[in-house]
């Protein structure tokens, strides 16, 4: 073998050796990678199981005041479509999101978790309306307008609003100009979603001119309730309809000690207790056509009273106080005072109120912190039962 041949022989051997080392290194790397990946997967499975068990433990813990487990509270909140649950005057409100947040923060620490649960598809929310109508003589045209309301209720229902109404007439005899005559509950058609009831003065503890006492009347109507009773989850609307202060407009008092004010306050308290929005309808008082309120028996003001057109100075003078009363009850209950220019506006205004109610709540309950992109995220899904025996998916995420 010459020198060149020996060099090639050596080079060949070196190439072979290098090739061996490369192949061996590659095989070993691949094997190690595969093994490490298997270990990682198994480790993640173990961690996932631990996380699932942990979330289950958190959901099983009880809330101190109610003694109910978090899983139970979540189910109730999801069904109500509200994360705040009212448990009566002794316990009060329980905020489920806040309770869960405390527990997740205590276990996983801040900025390391997130959860979400969709609310149960809300059943179509009922809108229950009670109207308390002043039946003093000047209210004739306004009350008579309610003959058109059953039809508009049906129209609104056809448009997807689950609305019903009960008209409460304060006790009294509403004598109207011809051809209407006397108005009683029998003057109105009764349908599945509209009916009329006359309040009893003694039972309702009405004061002053009982046919005008719409403050105590509202409280009594709330107690009587709509046809079929109050639905716990409905949107409740109260509409006092009047052109006078509750119980009479004598002296237009604003003092809290006055009988009128106390009647108003009773109405406010009752409405607030039940979560009712009050939209008082202020009927025309005569001030609109006679700003000085000194128009005698002016037929031009067109207020029908006991069979004739009569201007009543007393209610004209109390126009501003009436606005004050009606604004107060509206403001305190989240409603709005509606100033009627004419009785014919009643139907339109009722449609407007019902149309403006948004019954879509928040679609889900969530809490926690934004899920980071770069982290290894553990996740778990639980089925949460609701009181209506539905199951909703509760998704929880956690990262280091």
């Amino acid at each position: 073998m010459n020198k060149k041949g020996q060099a090639f022989e050596m080079l060949g051997f070196i190439i072979l050796a290098v090739a061996f080392i490369i192949v061996f290194t590659l095989l070993k790397t691949a094997s190690t990678k595969g093994y490490v990946s298997t270990i990682k997967e198994l480790y993640e499975i173990q961690e996932g199981e631990g996380f699932r068990a942990g979330i289950n433990a958190i959901l099983q813990t009880t809330e101190k005041r109610t003694g109910k487990s978090m899983i139970e509270l979540l189910g109730i909140a999801a069904q109500l479509g509200n994360d705040t649950i009212y448990f009566g005057p002794t316990i009060g409100n329980i905020n489920v999101t806040s309770e869960l947040k405390k527990r997740f923060d205590a276990i996983y620490g801040e900025y390391h978790w997130y959860f979400k649960i969709p609310f149960e598809l809300p059943p179509q929310k009922d809108i229950q309306i009670v109207v308390v109508a002043d039946v003093s003589g000047s209210m004739c045209d306004d009350v008579y307008e309610f003959k058109n309301v059953p039809q508009i209720i049906d129209t609104l229902r056809a448009q997807g609003k689950s609305v019903s109404m009960r008209l409460f007439l304060l006790p009294g005899q509403l004598r109207c100009c011809p051809p209407i005559g006397i108005i009683t509950c029998a003057s109105f058609p009764s349908t599945e979603y509209f009916d009329c009831v006359t309040l009893n003065a003694a039972k309702c503890n009405l004061k002053g001119s009982t046919d005008e006492d719409w403050g105590n009347g509202l409280a009594c109507a709330i107690e009587e309730g709509p046809k079929g009773g109050w639905n716990n989850y409905s949107i409740k609307i109260g509409i006092p309809l009047s052109d006078e202060l509750p119980g009479s407009s004598d002296n237009c008092p604003k003092s809290p000690s006055s009988q009128q004010y106390q009647s108003l306050q009773n109405g406010i308290n009752a409405a607030k207790n039940i979560g009712m929005y009050v939209f008082p309808f202020k009927a025309v008082t005569g001030k609109e056509c006679c700003p000085s309120c000194n128009c005698g028996y002016s037929p031009g003001c067109g207020i029908c009273y006991s069979g004739g057109n009569v201007f009543t100075k007393e209610q004209c003078l109390c126009d501003e106080t009436l606005e004050y009363y009606m604004s107060k009850i509206a403001n305190e209950t989240g409603g709005e005072m509606i100033k009627l220019k004419d009785a014919s506006e009643i139907v339109e205004k009722i449609s407007g109120i019902v149309g403006s109610i948004n019954i879509t709540g928040i679609p889900y309950l969530e809490a926690g912190y934004p899920i980071p992109n770069e982290k290894n995220i553990r996740s778990v899904t639980f089925a949460i039962p609701t009181p209506s025996k539905e199951f909703l998916e509760f998704d929880a995420y956690q990262w280091s």
Partner: protein, 238 residues
């Protein structure tokens, strides 16, 4: 000249070949050792999770058992059982979740809603090997049940250790519990002292389920140990 070159190159090639063979062998060996180490580490992680899950979900361990349905509730542990375990198993693992390969100790804390530890309990092995081969700490949330309307938040933490003391004690405990005869190959880095049902390495001791007879010391080294159960005791020979 030609002969001289061949005379130099051939021994070089021989040396290179030997070096390559040694490299391959060593690589294979170290790779196997590394894989075994990782396997043990994974075993330990799995063991930690499993032990916590058994403790929290087994009626024989801490799981709350309904008196009416006789069923256990997932991850709800009973305050009575926690107190009982922390009293009875101060120095050893409870049998319901004993591992014959590892040693562990559990610490349970009741966590208040502001994240502070309100109360704590612990049970399991009192001591661990001085020279630990592997150690893992793992935790899991639990619900601590005082009564049906009072279930509080808690954390269950486990320290799980693999070492010579745990390994040899596990072998003796397994023979004792299964009431059989077994053999095992052990490699000891330190001397082992045995006195009745107590086994110690480097002054770290564990309590055994049975008394050991036939041997009271095993010097460091490699052995095949034989153990057989008889009348509540185990007889050990090297």
């Amino acid at each position: 000249m030609k002969g001289q070159l061949s005379y130099v190159i051939k021994p070089i090639m021989l040396v290179v070949t030997i070096i390559l063979v040694i490299f391959f062998t060593f690589s294979l060996y170290s790779s196997t050792i590394e894989e075994k180490r990782k396997e043990k580490s994974l075993d330990l992680t799995a063991m930690a999770t499993n032990t916590l899950l058994i403790l929290a979900n087994s009626e024989d361990c801490l799981a709350y058992q309904s008196k009416t349905t006789q069923g256990a509730y997932a991850n709800i542990i009973s305050i009575e059982k926690i107190e009982e375990f922390s009293e009875i198993y101060k120095e050893e693992e409870p049998e319901c979740a004993r591992s014959f390969d590892f040693g562990w100790r559990v610490n349970i804390s009741e966590i208040s809603l502001d994240g502070k530890v309100a109360k704590s309990w612990s049970f399991g092995a009192k001591d661990f090997s001085y020279n630990k081969k592997e150690e893992i700490n793992f935790w899991m949330p639990v619900a601590i049940r005082y009564d049906s309307k009072d279930i509080r938040l808690g954390k269950m933490q486990i320290k799980i250790v693999y070492g010579e003391l745990e390994s040899i004690a596990g072998f003796f405990d397994m023979v004792c519990k299964t009431k059989t005869s077994k053999k095992t190959e052990i490699s000891l880095e330190d001397d082992v002292k045995i006195e009745n049902n107590k086994i110690c390495i480097n002054n770290r001791c564990r309590k055994l389920y049975c008394n050991v007879t036939g041997i009271n010391e095993i010097k460091r080294g490699e052995y095949i140990l034989s153990a057989s159960y008889s009348q509540g005791k185990i007889f050990v020979t090297k």
